[in-house]
Amino acid sequence: MKMSLVVRTTTKLMSPFLVAYAAYLMIYGQMSPGGGFQAGVILAVSVVLLIVSHGYRSVKKRFKMREVGAIEGVSALGLVLLGLAGMLFGGFFYNFLKGWWSGGTVVLFNIGVGLKVGAAFVLVFYVMLRWVESD
């Protein structure tokens, strides 16, 4: 069900800023406590706002369910591969990029966790809204 025109347009105006903010939280996640998880929540919020205001069908045309599932699986696989790559240098999740930039592999880890959490929340919304929404 669509909400009123004001809500639809304002959520549309907000969502690029939210995505940029989520990208900032992912890339600079090692500076603040939390990091990846809150970035994923913001990334999910920017899609959930569109779902709430525009209805479920019209958002699903843009972000296909298969693509969201693919992002989730690929980022989970990436996390495991990152851990296994640390195995070559010393141990599971060894920080092998420590001296290159601030944080080393923690940046990659935060990006993976953020993408995975955002995609997982969006996927749960899609699957559950299929039963709740009528259009």
Partner: protein, 84 residues
Amino acid sequence: MGLRERIAAVIIALALALLLLQLDYSRSGFGSYSYYVSNWRDVGVPNLVTAIVADWRAYDSLGEATLLFTAVTGVYLLLGGKKK
């Protein structure tokens, strides 16, 4: 919800707030805390909480991610079929 339940809810919320205010938030001197505080500069991560969560306890965070993945898979298997 009657009046009595609401008053009980107010009293319980205030008691919980007082309890949380009374807790001891000072740092504890035993356990692995001193190890973390003395060694977290070596990791190269600018924040202590992120250094613990994402470097020493990365295995734990991977477990959280796996749990989320399992939850999504379960929801999809339960509700993802055709709508009746």
